[in-house]
């Protein structure tokens, strides 16, 4: 026989203003199975909780319904109180009569009647509640970090410094990401390479970090505390253990005219290459598409030149499996390709700006390479078409960003700042040059950011024109920029030598497929979704997976590094315990009824359902049924809704409880 206690909260006046709480308590008191009911001003306060604890003892309560706010608010509070009073915490539930009732109604009688209904339903549910014990799972105190940009490097270093092993996986031959490509960085104009390279070296040399560059995630199994990651180490054709990084091979390679993607195709590289001189690791990769040995079978000059015999044309991709307990995703961003509409994309291209057809229309990252001391021009601003120094440069902001009609409605956040930076870098290098900027707004929130922007405008002679460009075209060796100055209300036409487009920050092109491997969610732009926009900005909804950097949304370096350290802190919090305790709201299979159709496995978004073989004493297989791994189950209940014969149910939300609630209505 159930002895339920019902506690109706006034929530100050939040509830009692519209709901007659005394009447609700009196109503609850006469419900079958209710042993005690009362109302109180603030149930969540200390005296309120004590009232609950006392009542459990005095009335030998077996279950509790607190009629108050949303369970999201105080379920934990009251379950703890119930536990302190000697009850199983899962025998305590909340009836939400605030958000679901008093806040949304005006008529007192009707609201009171509805509150009574909600209480009655919850009483029925708790009556059929089961004692549940928390689930514990062990934690593997090693972390995976995917992506070796500044975000991944920072997260890896923090976790490693805390004494935990880190596996850092980078898809390119070198770590560094986009920051390695930048020249100088806002808002302080310090050289990007100079602050980045030491971190890259630290990460590679850290005793707790295993770096897999030129590698990708093949598959991921498992769950928080217990992931198993398979990594594809792409064939480098160079033995990393033997190679000393002397670079003789690159000097010998006859294939010297391959556009270097790292330099936005402005510079050239050999077929055996490191993407940039400061690469970490400093081990070259053979680009098999261009290598003569792979193309024609003849050559091998690099192998002959290599002292330690590190070159291995026979090398194959290798799969390695690493057990980890947590994952930080730090795969960064990509720049919007503006010349054409990307295939299958809902995003329109910007063909009208001539990108891809007019050689002197470049994007911001290409400008960074031009301005970089280690770039293809040695830091001289020279335009791609004829290598001349441009005297008039037009910068166009918001190309792709904030253009709903083109398919992207968000602000890329960094372009206002880096365009201001570009005008300064240009001004420092070409003293007689003039920089024009077409902009919609100047968005410069951030420490020292507005000051930085004003410096560009007020001290560094950048001409800011508020308005959009309608058309670009080549006239002789000039690029004519037609636009409007909306502040003055006139059309402007500028004969530019170089045009730089601040193109939108987008998710990595393969971001969705990685998300699917990880089982994390992403928004319509393929940026990864955090669990809560404000309160859980670095966690994924999938337990044990954290986000850092621009893979979650456009970010500058300070924000990226902050989030990376935050993600590392979350990982350390997880690793502070040997065992994880989690809510026992998980599905359970009725093995007598399950027929092993595995419809549940097909729909389970967490991959929690396994096959279990039922055998007789002689070991003969009788049936194969579904089994829920409680460590993995997210308690979503999808299986319960799918199973035709209702052979799987969520603890705490059994069909019996739900049907009883419906019937009580």
């Amino acid at each position: 026989m159930s002895r339920i206690g019902v506690f109706v909260c006034h929530c100050g006046e939040n509830i009692s203003r519209t709901v007659d709480v005394e009447r609700v308590a009196a109503y609850a008191a006469q419900l079958p199975g209710v042993a005690y009911a009362t109302d109180y001003k603030y149930m969540c306060s200390d005296p309120g909780q004590n009232l609950l604890k006392k009542a459990v003892a005095e009335h030998q309560l077996t279950g509790i319904v607190v009629a108050a706010c949303s369970p999201r608010m105080h379920e934990k509070t009251f379950r703890k109180a119930a536990q302190a009073a000697g009850l199983n915490p899962f025998m305590c539930d909340m009836a939400n009569i605030r958000e679901h009732c008093s806040w949304v109604h005006e008529n007192r009688d009707e609201a009171t009647a509805k509150a009574s209904d909600i209480v009655r339903l919850m009483v029925e549910r708790v009556k059929r509640g089961k004692v549940l014990e928390p689930i514990t799972v062990p934690v593997t105190k090693r972390s995976l970090v995917i992506g070796g940009g500044i975000a991944g490097i920072q997260a890896a270093l923090d976790i490693a410094d805390a004494g935990h092993q880190v596996v850092l996986v980078e898809r390119e031959p070198s770590i560094g990401g986009h920051m390695a490509q930048l020249s100088e960085t806002f808002p302080t104009l310090d050289c990007s390479q100079c602050i980045m390279t030491p971190k890259m070296v630290d990460a590679a040399n850290h005793p707790n970090i295993t770096l897999y560059s030129w590698s990708e995630i093949e598959s991921i199994d498992g769950y928080i505390g217990n992931f198993s990651v398979t990594i594809r180490r792409k064939a480098r054709s160079v033995d990393e253990d033997k190679c000393t990084g002397c670079g003789v091979c690159m000097a010998k390679c006859p294939q010297k005219k391959i556009p270097n993607v790292f330099d936005r195709n402005l510079g050239l590289r050999t077929a055996i290459y490191v993407p940039f001189p400061q690469a970490v690791p400093n081990t070259p990769v053979i680009d098999r598409e261009h290598c003569l040995k792979f193309k024609t079978g003849k050559c091998g000059l690099c192998a002959k030149a290599c002292g330690p015999q590190a070159i291995d044309f026979e090398q194959q991709d290798q799969l390695v499996t690493e057990p980890v307990g947590a994952i930080v995703v730090a795969t960064g961003f990509d720049l919007y390709s503006i010349d054409r509409k990307p295939e299958g994309s809902s995003i329109e291209g910007y063909g009208e700006f001539g990108y891809g057809t007019i050689p002197d229309v470049i994007d911001g990252l290409t400008f960074e390479r031009l301005a970089s001391a280690s770039g293809p021009t040695g830091g001289k601003i020279l335009r791609p078409s004829d290598g001349k120094e441009p005297k008039q440069v037009v910068f166009i902001q918001c190309v792709g960003s904030r253009a709903r009609e083109k398919g992207i409605s968000y602000c890329s956040k960094i372009c206002c700042m880096y365009t201001a930076k570009h005008t300064m870098l240009y001004h420092h290098k070409v003293h007689d040059g003039r920089a024009y900027v077409f902009y919609m707004d100047a968005r410069t929130p951030g420490k020292c950011y507005d000051e930085f922007w004003r410096r560009a405008v007020e001290e560094e002679e950048a001409v800011y024109i508020r308005g959009m460009v309608s058309r670009l075209y080549q006239r002789g060796d000039k690029v004519v920029v037609m636009g409007s100055d909306t502040l003055v209300g006139v059309q402007v036409e500028i004969e530019a030598d170089l045009v730089v487009l601040a193109t939108a920050v987008q998710a990595q092109p393969n971001a969705d497929s990685l998300a699917q491997k990880l089982g994390i969610s992403y928004d319509k732009y393929n940026f990864y979704s955090e669990a809560h926009a404000k309160l859980r900005p670095v966690e994924c909804a999938t337990a044990g997976i954290y986000l850092a950097g621009a893979c979650q949304g456009p970010k500058d370096i300070p924000d990226t590094v902050s989030q990376a350290s935050a993600a590392a802190a979350k990982v350390m919090t997880l690793f502070a315990k040997d065992q994880l305790e989690r809510e026992p709201i998980v599905a359970r299979v009725n093995e007598r009824n399950c027929v092993g159709c595995f419809a549940c496995r097909k729909v389970c978004p967490y991959g929690a359902i396994e096959e279990k073989e039922i055998r007789d004493r002689q070991g003969n297989l009788i049936r194969t049924v579904a089994h829920v791994n409680p460590g993995v189950c997210g308690g979503c209940g999808t299986c319960q809704a799918t199973c035709p014969s209702k052979s799987v149910e969520l603890d705490g939300y059994t069909d019996e409880q739900i049907v009883a609630m419906i019937e009580a209505l």
Partner: protein, 310 residues
Amino acid sequence: MQQNHTQLADDSYFAAVTNAIRTETTKLLSEGTVAAVIGYQAGTRAGTVIPTIITDAAKAGDLVFSPGCVNNLALYLTKAKKEVRPAGKVAIIAKGCDMRALAGLLGESQLKREELHIIGVACVGVKGAGAGSGEALTTGTIARKCRECTVRAPEGADVVVGAVPPLPEFSPVEAEELARLEAMTPAERWAFWKGHFSRCIRCMACRQVCPFCYCEQCLCDRNRPQALETTPRPAGNMAWHIVRAMHLAGRCAGCTECERACPMDIPLNLLNRKMARELKTLYDFEAGLVPVEKGPLTEYREEDDQSFIK
């Protein structure tokens, strides 16, 4: 209706199929390739057949194939498997429509392909409801589903027996019936089904005969909590038929066994076909062509039609 009906296949076709089945059975059982063959044997009344399971090569001569072989034998691989399915590989006689059930059951982990030996029958058709047991297979007696059959030559079988003789064009009775249903207004359709379902006596023959209703305990038999009212009253009947339609959507092989078994002549297959049509339009899915990893209702694809969410 007075009409001259033409016979669709002469006796030699059925004799050839029967012989081929017997030869294959003898071979399989004597060589020990399979432990049993599920097929048809002659019933007590002339022209009727009953499903049978042969484990002895000497009994291969009992097997027949005739226009009366309506049963979908896939049923005996699942529901009754505990009683009848011996250990080891099993052979089964399967018409094209039965093959669809097998493909579905493979996709639902109920069968393992390597434990099955499928003897496919290139099928001219079987007789429909109302045809007397002594009657021949003619344009008049052929089952409605067989008039619009698209799977006469079964694909994916281990061996196919028989060869389909040239057949005349049939007027598409089933398609017309579905078109009439679809032409109704929602209110008319509701009334149509309400009328039919109110006659249901909840004998559950439709469930018992369906190869996909292999659940250990059907939702209808649950009593804690009770999911459906079990007595044949309008509300419970409606609920049962909605459950049946939804549980079989995207799975039903179209064998029409449910409709054949129903003592109350409820047009169950019309509902099945309507559901199949919906899945075809919404998800471009057709059940039973090949075993699939995920069905249309257990898979989410970005391009799935969402227009029905209002």
